[in-house]
Chain length 325, copies 6
């Protein structure tokens, strides 16, 4: 069914509709004339749309699975400037038959390919202790599984399974490209920092049918989580090897993680005070901003406008036509 799917962000008024949605909420209501109707919200990975089913029965209402899948027949219309779906008929649909990637936003890239490229980009690390420490992280299957699945951020409407890996890879590529230009930097520290700077998001964010903060994520945050993990892994490594993990290396790695947001007001308890930390902060920021601005253009709703809607993250509208001069 994938080819024919009409995604929420593609839908226009007056279209016929015959496909499956994730259901977010449902209500059974009464019209002013005393008739009952169902109001619910239909969702796919591109957004959500309100729907109505007029002259509905309690039985139909009961059959609709909240946070489950529903096959919907009907049509779209414009209601007060927003789109809504009018449902003619509907029946529950098995989760096993859907392609989950249609309903949860997922990286468009291949997770294992990205992971292998990331491993490749970290391979040049020479420092023995850093190498072992990263190996230690990579052997933590549960953590790696969470890392591959985590989004890079919980943003309104467009969280992203695999986003953390995609972003980490982007930063690793930028590091790989730029390190030769700044030979004064300790490349080992930079690369280890690239891998670990956001790894705490694996535990800060959780992915179900939505993407949200975990309680621990909200109370402790990915920066402190990552620093605790680095400390724990270094200690475990020292126990295994019988050799203490070098304190100075640990200080530097923890500093890079703690300072990578670059400013206090963005939640870094330390300002970057090591050249490698300053470097990482900037390429991390660059990769994030490139994604935001290019995505703002790609996702903008109004094809006629020269500028996107206002972006709160970038504090401006983005001009959409710089690709072609």
């Amino acid at each position: 069914m994938r080819e024919q799917r009409r995604f929420v962000n593609q839908m226009k008024p007056s279209e016929a509709m015959d496909q499956v949605f994730l259901v977010r909420e449902k209500d059974l209501r009464t019209t002013k004339a005393g008739d009952r109707y169902i109001s619910c919200v239909l969702v796919d990975r591109t957004g959500s749309v309100p729907a109505r089913m007029w002259q509905a029965s309690q039985a139909i209402f009961d059959s609709i699975p909240v946070e489950g899948f529903l096959h919907v027949k009907g049509h779209t219309e414009d209601y007060r400037g927003s789109l809504q779906v009018v449902i003619d008929a509907c029946r529950p649909y098995s989760a096993e038959k859907v392609d989950l990637a249609d309903f949860l936003p997922v990286t468009e890239l291949d997770v294992e390919v990205m992971w292998n490229e990331l491993l490749e980009l970290l391979r040049p690390i020479k420092d023995r202790h850093l190498k072992l420490l990263i190996k230690k992280f990579m052997e933590d299957r549960e953590l790696v599984a969470a890392f591959k699945k985590a989004p890079a951020a919980v943003q309104m409407h467009h969280p992203f399974i695999g986003g953390l890996l995609e972003h980490t890879l982007g930063v690793a590529r930028a590091a790989g490209a730029l390190l030769p230009l700044y030979p004064g930097l300790n490349a080992d520290l930079v690369l280890a920092g690239v891998f670990l700077h956001d790894i705490g998001k694996s535990a800060e964010l959780q992915v179900g049918t939505t993407m949200t903060y975990t309680d621990r994520g909200q109370l402790v945050g990915h920066i402190a989580i990552a620093v605790i993990w680095v400390s724990e892994k270094a200690r475990a490594l020292a126990e295994e090897t019988g050799e203490p993990f070098p304190a100075r290396t640990l200080d530097l790695l923890e500093h890079i993680i703690l300072s990578h947001h670059g400013q206090y007001e963005f939640g870094s308890p330390k300002l970057p005070a090591v050249p490698e930390a300053i470097f990482l902060h900037h390429i991390d920021n660059l990769d994030a901003k490139m994604f935001m601005s290019l995505r703002a253009i790609a996702n903008d709703a109004d094809p006629d406008a020269s500028f996107t809607a206002f972006s709160r993250e970038l504090q401006t509208r983005i001009y959409k036509k710089s690709g072609q001069l």
Copy 2:
């Protein structure tokens, strides 16, 4: 010799001088007329004063121990509005014979008495896990020794041996006094937070003949250090007892530590988001500000002025005469 000691902050021009100082730096220089003289800096726990010895020899110069003690005879005088000591004669003095408390700023209170009162104030903690965790910290002799010795802050000129304990006790007393007024608070969490919120300063600051940040203190900071320690002790405890340390309790305790500065710009990576964290932030801040303002008055140089000199920490001058109406 203590009774007769004239401390640096008590010295006035034209006083005779016959006592021991800590020497910070020394130089052998030549006057315009070609004579050699010694320039050095004399220090005690209340401050430092430049000193000169005219018509000095290389031998005398060599005998002066930098970061060691020197018995000085001479007198004070005013030089360009500042006090200096003119040395007539001097000889090195054994560190064993001095009372170190004269040369390093030290709490005026008894460390063990304070420690015992703190233990007493923490005794009401009922939660078994928190109780064990704090016990775990208290059994770490090295840490407790550092905790008792650490200053609460490296401030210009007035760091303070035992200051961390004195401040922690101050906050514990305030908690003890206020908790009955806010019965909605979890007193166990508050008291555990009081004990642990600044404990990382034991490793952030170091005390020799001066008080400075450690490299780890500067790169990682006491907030992250404390969170790592809590995580480590909880894990060790779990290994000992065979019972996992409750994750939610750990989240909350780490949150309280991470957020206790109250604002991002003061180095907290999380804003207080738990009533107990908000409470701790405020009483911590109150105790610090009370100390700053009362000390600014006590230490102010000009007895005739109604206001102290401008306090950078308090962003104002402090009125000195509110004690008596």
Copy 3:
């Protein structure tokens, strides 16, 4: 009727309804089918809810008293995710028969008990002039009546009759608990400041069927109002006693009031520059923040969520489950 009352913040869809409300607004409208219906807003002390009466007549519409009481029969339902009341029948209800405390948010504590405790807490003031000045305020019946009735703040949806007294008492208790810990403070000044710091709110805010700023409150503000009152009372006292009120005491008291918000951006024209002013600012702030955070938890709409909705005042969501570990 109190026991059976279903407050607005307790109501759920599909409940039968038979009780009295305060009416905030009403409209007579026409449906698309040409029928007339009444739209109005029903209010009690916990919030407001929209209501509809279908097939309504002009006569019924005219009988509904805006800012008066209405006995309503009908039921609740969910409309577009929000609750609304469907009215089957209604009739005006005498204001004399209602318990006003059901309709206006009121402190849950006994005002006279609080007032007496406050008097008790102020009793230790020794300074003769401050003692007389406070007596002067307490003899101003009109002012005391307004003080006992005023809310501590106009906050969205939850203003609070008696809130000013409740907060002042909270601060007085905190002062009473903490003053023994900071013997360097002038307790007389602190206690007088506690009583007077927010007293201007008695004229800044007004309580009718809603709580709003007075014009004078908005133009002049409670800080300046309080300072003017202190100045007036001191002058009146001097005229009565024939003895000038000490200028320095007046300066200090006015300073404590002027600076108690602690920062310029919160409307204090002076930063706290007297230890007693710094102290008052902190305990005032503590009491306010404790109330906000504990109330945010108590009032949060979603029982399943770990965190409250975002609190603009506290700049974060509040974790709701710290009470039990």
Copy 4:
């Protein structure tokens, strides 16, 4: 002697010196060779200069009056890039024989002429109550005397006797010139606000041989002082006339004073919320900034530079050559 006077800001190295100064501080010191010399600071209304008298005696030292006048003979020289005076001979000088205006910065304009022009500019006020209120202020001889003498601000090095009147007149002229352009404004309120907005500085600042804040000025500030005065005068007026002073007029006048700094961070507890308050804030600011920038140019030390030194108030250097294109 005025014609021949060489003011401090005119002095250059290697000039002979034979004139009277105000003495700020003095010290008797010993050179490295054992000789005694006097160090003191000489002041006139344009600035201060350090001075030395070599081979000085105790008797000469004792004869020098601190905060008194001294007739000095000697010459100037450059010492480490700054000017100093070398005194050959000196003797105390009677305060009665000096022209005080040489030693304290004073407006260059005639105070009574300015005062009369100000009265003239306020004459158009029509509102009876405002007219009487201003008259009430003008009949307060002590206050008017202080008003005429007060500086407009205590700025480093250049406080200014009569500056408050000069600035108030400048704002009154600007109001007079601009009011016809904004007929929507209530001119009476504007003019009363012009007269009263800074009047509290009469009690905030004091003029002796230096200009400083009074304790009340520092604790309460000119804004609150003025509001208290307005309140007192209005009350006194009501008692005299037996007619209450209109509350709304009082609210507005107090608001204009409270908000005239325009922003919280500049010490206004209220933002301008009345058109007349917004107007006054802007012309007050304009007059102050015009003075600052034109004076920065007039007083700049380096005649060759295109720009003045950095002005902290204006946050920039000022270009000095815009007068001629």
Copy 5:
């Protein structure tokens, strides 16, 4: 028809309606009962109002011109607290027959009269080069035409044809009134700056049936546009006259334009650093704020309220009753 016109901001519920509107958007929808109705938005220069036509046909729907004019018969009613128009009948209306000034917000003053007064106010400029430069701008017919038509700003709901000229004239009048009070200023520079400071808005903003930013306006902004124009005109002038335009005059004029917003955060890349630039910034700001505050009062929706709704630009509500004491 002008006299009888009922503007959108004058309309109340239950009024009959028989007049022309500009149509902004239209939709053909289906009621729950299956009937079709038209939803559209009607606009005039004072605002917009939603409208409904029940039992509408496709033919009627097709006849309604979006961004064109429609003669509407029907009545108003209140819908959920907002006004809406119920259309009984409608027909398209010729743009040639309407008075455009009813549909686009336009200055209430005469553009040519304002332009001539502006010319008169610039006449005193004596500097030959500035005089020629301004003449050069005034001979650019296209630019002058755009200048006369441009709004001074794109504000929500109330852009303003001729607003740029009206504001420029307001600033010129203020300059004319105040320059005699500050004789230290170079009046030529001020007046040239007045004329040119906002002239770039002629290209930054565009006026159709709405007022919006041009792409160039959004990317480059009126400040840089104006500086480029000044540079171009000066170069063209130099080519014509064979005499170089004085570099210093150009620097100063460009500086005045670049700095006239007064602060970096308002988009000025330079802070005012020339007295004439500081002056212009202040009178520009004054004229804008006077307009905003007086208009906020004039346009406020609620006649009973003492204060306007919150003004985001002025960061406060404005008191509406200061006109009469």
Copy 6:
């Protein structure tokens, strides 16, 4: 003489001195004993040091050329913790015989090699108009000569001839390395922006024996200067080719220049609102910060310290030992 040169930042106390310096200032003074001595400041490209010549004559003083070169014999010593030079003998030295690069800070790289690499990096630009525009700049010999000589910034003590080119090349290399990773970007725009973003510094800064702002630089700034130049060159190009320069390309290029500081408070009148502008801002910032942090380490005065002195630009001290783990 270059090999033997002892640079100012290498000098230690008690070294013999026999080499040439640039003289910044000189004074002839009198000791307390009445002897004359010369005080002057000696400079090379690494810093400045005060010098004294005792028992000096007027003739020697007159022979010393300020802002000229002086051959000095003597020795160094420590004076109050700072180094000074004691001159035994000196004579003026011909500017023709010195290597200017010893006295003015100059890039350590070859200017022409850098220029050619920059040309190479810009070669991939495909857009015909951008290609011609850049060619137009490169044919402006005067501008290119200034560009090659200009520093990238006037920083305390370490301005840098050739710094602008070195930085521009650094950004171009970073662009070259990163553009393949962000294929969504228009590489032509990025590369043109890289070349032009700081080109205005060629006219903003001037290099003599010091590096300072020009008046135009201070009044107009390099951002506006560059935008004017781009506008002028585009116009000239259009005149030459008879083909208008595409307005949209010009808008984008000007936007990139105007926004490249990334924030209003850093003097950008526009925030980056085009992906290419966001990209350029970040790599420009990265290259600057890498230089600052690595230089802070390289130049730090205290070899024993783990951290550099506080860096105002980076708002922190920089850890110096991350190079080796």
